[in-house]
């Protein structure tokens, strides 16, 4: 971030990276649109983000992948923006733009020289308020095929590409909205109709289901004026979206799966049921993942990759969604090393953590890396707007940087050992991707 002068900066008192406090203004328009402004004049750039509170977890069975398909449809023109002009007008102003969809949110963003701010706001308002009048099945069909190619590129024609969706389906009960992948299935993408597009838009793409974040070099009074003029007349949504729910569950036994793929080396995925984002054990699981496989001195790397040379690579990740979570370890045995040989050593290392815990040096290291990662998320206006929008949706305030970091400061050695025992000591899904026979 950039606005920090001594008077504003409230620095974390712990050693290592100091994280500045941001000057943030938040308000809500009468139609329910939440607005977050974070002016920062240190570089002549500004980022605009609209995060709609809808993701693949809001989809219904038979329409998986629809939230992401809809993300693409939002670029296909609106009543006052002819097809193709959304991107052309932005590029002509020196602005770049993109969007992404997760299980929980769909996030649209532009980053640009500061003078282009009113254009980005106007374009985003037009597609929020006036998307459907010019939407046609032909426009949907183009993006349906583009998305199918995205799926081919990321999943079907990529080695190990189908592992993620296979794990989600095996780990979560079928009624759990996190049991399918964001990209969805080809069959469901084919089934999406223009009627689905209209219903989805009316349900989820209303101002009262979104957060608008502006970060960077702008005058707040001007921004407020433009935001009121562009977004103020868009009516509040008439349909109240049904939020997804998840039922608590515990895996009753280990599930072992094998998936054939066009790969030369097998790869083993271990997945455990995890926790939702910002819940009490979330930070400890983040740190545990780092201690296990985050760097070249980590537990699993040292034994499996460096000392024993049984594995080509190993990774661990705590994936924390809004309502669900999973903890994964992924390992690729070296050529001619069996998955069993790797598994035996890996289980022994995990037992060592469960039984004996980790060291203070390991915990400090993991925490320090987290702190720098937070600075990195605040360094550029685009990433910072992402962080603020997500905070606003999940915890109800964009002003959460300090609290987010404090979570890691409070994690103890006992916590690490406890979450290791509780979560990776529980039943799991083991997926082995093997070379096609």
């Amino acid at each position: 971030m950039r606005t920090v002068v001594a008077a504003l900066a409230a620095l974390c008192t712990t050693a290592g990276a100091q994280v500045p406090r941001l000057a943030i203004e938040r308000y809500t328009l009468p139609n329910g649109l939440t607005v977050v402004l974070q002016p920062d004049h240190s570089a002549p750039v500004v980022a605009v983000r609209i995060e709609y509170h809808v993701g693949s977890a809001d989809e219904r069975p038979g329409r998986t992948g629809f939230a992401h398909l809809f993300e693409h449809i939002m670029f296909m023109g609106s009543e006052h923006v002819p097809l193709g002009h959304f991107d052309q007008w932005l590029e002509q102003a020196g602005a770049n733009n993109n969007a992404y969809t997760t299980h929980d949110v769909t996030s649209f963003y532009e980053w640009m020289p500061s003078n282009a701010l009113p254009l980005a706001l106007w374009l985003d308002a037009d597609r929020m308020g006036w998307l459907l009048p010019t939407m046609t099945l032909a426009r949907v069909d183009v993006q349906r095929d583009v998305v199918k190619n995205e799926r081919r590129q990321r999943i079907d024609n990529a080695p190990y590409g189908r592992a993620n969706e296979t794990i989600l389906a095996a780990l979560y009960p079928s009624a759990d909205p996190y049991s399918w992948s964001v990209i969805g299935s080809m069959t469901d993408l084919s089934a999406a109709s223009l009627g689905d597009v209209q219903t989805f838009f009316k349900t989820y793409y209303a101002p009262n289901n979104a957060t608008l974040v502006v970060v960077g070099d702008f005058a707040p009074d001007s921004a407020k004026h433009w935001i009121a003029a562009d977004f103020g007349s868009i009516p509040r949504g008439s349909v109240v979206p049904t939020r997804p729910t998840v039922a608590p569950f515990t895996l009753a036994h280990d599930t072992t799966l094998t998936l054939q793929d066009r790969v030369q080396l097998p790869r083993v995925y271990y997945a455990w049921h995890g926790v939702k984002v910002y819940s009490p054990d979330d930070a400890a699981l983040d740190l545990l993942a780092y201690i296990l496989a985050g760097d070249n001195a980590s537990r699993l790397y040292t034994t499996l990759v460096h000392d024993r040379q049984l594995a080509q690579d190993v990774g661990a990740q705590n994936q924390d969604f809004r309502l669900e979570g999973l903890f994964t370890i992924v390992v690729t045995p070296k050529p001619n090393i069996s998955t069993n040989a790797v598994d035996t050593v890996l289980q022994a290392e995990l037992s060592r953590v469960v039984d004996g815990g980790v060291t203070d040096a390991e915990l400090t290291r993991a925490r320090n890396v987290q702190r720098t990662a937070m600075l990195d998320r605040l360094a550029g206006v685009t990433e910072r707007s992402d962080q603020l929008a997500y905070y606003d949706y999940v915890v109800g305030t964009p002003d959460y940087v300090s609290q987010d970091l404090e979570r890691y400061e409070h994690v103890t050695l006992a916590d690490i050992q406890r979450v290791a025992r509780t979560y990776i000591g529980a039943h799991k899904v083991v997926l082995t991707v093997v070379p096609q026979t």
Binding site: G94, T136, V146, N157, K202, N368, V369
Partner: protein, 479 residues
């Protein structure tokens, strides 16, 4: 540009409760003047041993980015030992007299830092990203790796085995197979750009720690090094620290031209090379030719021309292959400008059933860019390049990255401050001239990695060029 049949537009459903656009908000707003570009000053200092410092102060966030740039890379690998430079980079975090590989990893993380080395054709970089609070300790670690790496045999055996396994895994990834094969075919084995920078199974097996030390000794010296530091530092502080850490570093040989200039291979008539990936649902298409070095006087016209052809989202290739035909998730082009003339490359991952149609659209666009470009399209591309520049220079990490080519190619320090004026000066005639000089559809190498049984006959039927089969390395298949 996509055109919808009129009847479709009229049939659009308008039944939902629409917002009423307020008067005056039905056309996009007129924008004020764009901000002036002024990169914070780049301070240059030189140590007596020839090491160059480029320092930019940015105090908004307590982070520092340092990049040591050395003027040689895989281009300098011995012909039968491709992979040396990239292996040196991998080995640089693997041991010094006082630190093991695990020590280096643990200390880096304890400082909240990241420390990486990489090597790309004509240069090698060692990069440090660190909070200001731990900068001083990180400097010691950084200098230890740069000055005192020992390249232990035991670590080299590990790194070598990892690299050989990387190469096995690489051949599972069709886009990378296509990239590697294109370079092999386009430049040939006698040109450094025709040899894979990661090496081959054969070349990596031939490399010893003597080769690693040989490259390190020839490349890592003060006279061949520029240290870029951007972030929460002072110029004097960096200069003093550099003197303390690197003041005693050997100057090294005057290494102005570490590699003799290779001759570019003659351009051959357009040919399609097919590499089989059984049952692949997509085909990786690459079209390439040998183009220009970074020193080309046509840098700015090429930048504009490529932006029109395939450098941005609304460029012609993406508009055509993605937004109009939906054959792909994205189609792009670019110029790899290096010390010696590098490739012009156009690429996409396309749905297998439209491999032939996609190739025809690529060929159409490579021909069309040689015609006069409409003024509106020229203006859009130029404005895009001029005005997006502030976003390219936003964070410390951005600025440090943008200064790497300044160091490698000896660009003037005002390169970014004069960039907009240079782009503004590009004319329609310039664009056409460079398109005709560097985009020649009658002389391109075309590589397609896909399901040969399904795509080869349709590719032949396009009559774009003769079709040859190649193996995963881009070499002729054994008959």
């Amino acid at each position: 540009m996509k055109r919808l049949p009129l009847v479709m537009v009229l049939a659009a459903v308008t039944a939902h409760a629409q917002a009423n656009a307020p008067a005056g908000r039905t056309t996009p707003p007129t924008l004020g003047p764009p901000p002036k570009i002024s990169l914070p000053p780049i301070h240059e200092r030189n140590l007596p041993n020839g090491m160059r410092l480029l320092v930019v102060e940015r105090h908004e966030i307590p982070l520092v980015d340092a990049v040591l740039v050395l003027g040689a890379g895989p281009e300098a690998d011995p012909a039968a030992k491709s992979g040396v430079a990239t292996l040196v980079a991998s080995m640089l975090t693997r041991g010094t007299p006082t630190r093991s590989a695990a020590d280096i990893a643990a200390q880096t993380a304890t400082l909240g830092a990241s420390l990486d080395a990489g090597s790309s054709w004509d240069h090698t970089v060692v990069s440090l990203h660190v909070p200001t609070a731990t900068l001083d300790s990180a400097w010691s670690l950084f200098a230890d790796l740069v000055l005192h790496s020992t390249f232990p045999d035991s670590e080299f055996a590990r790194v070598k085995r990892e690299r050989l396994t990387d190469l096995v895994e690489l051949s599972d990834r069709a886009p990378e197979v296509a990239d590697r094969a294109l370079a092999t075919i386009l430049f040939g084995p006698d040109h450094p750009y025709g040899r894979p920078s990661l090496g081959s199974e054969q070349s990596v097996n031939a490399i010893t720690t003597n080769d690693i030390r040989g490259f390190y000794d020839a490349t890592f010296s003060a006279g061949n090094a520029t240290l870029i530091v951007v972030g929460d530092v002072t110029v004097d502080g960096v200069a003093a620290k550099a003197k303390e850490l690197f003041g005693g570093w050997k100057r090294g040989s005057a290494n102005a031209d570490p590699v003799p200039r290779p001759s570019s291979p003659p351009a051959a008539a357009t040919t399609i090379y097919v590499i089989d990936k059984h049952d692949a649902p997509q085909s990786s298409i690459r079209l390439g030719s040998v183009a220009v070095a970074r020193s080309t006087p046509d840098y700015f016209p090429i930048d504009v021309m490529n932006t029109i052809l395939g450098g941005a989202f609304t460029s012609r290739l993406n508009e055509n292959l993605r937004e109009t035909h939906a054959y792909t998730y994205g189609a792009f082009s670019g110029f790899g400008m290096r010390r010696f003339p590098g490739p012009f490359l156009a690429e996409a991952e396309v749905v297998a059933t439209k491999t032939d149609s996609s190739l025809l659209q690529f060929m159409h666009e490579l021909n069309a860019i040689r015609d006069t470009v409409p003024m509106a399209e020229l203006r859009k591309a130029k404005r895009y390049l001029e005005l997006q520049l502030p976003g390219e220079l936003e964070t410390s990490r951005d600025i440090a990255g943008q200064l790497v080519p300044v160091a490698v190619y000896h660009l003037p320090l005002d390169f970014y401050n004069t960039y907009q004026a240079h782009i503004a000066a590009v004319t329609r005639a310039d664009v056409q001239r460079v398109a005709r000089a560097y985009v020649d559809p009658t002389h391109v190498v075309i590589v397609v990695v896909g399901d040969r049984a399904a795509i080869e006959a349709p590719l032949r039927a396009t009559h774009v060029g003769p079709v040859q089969d190649r193996n995963l390395d881009g070499l002729p298949t054994a008959q």
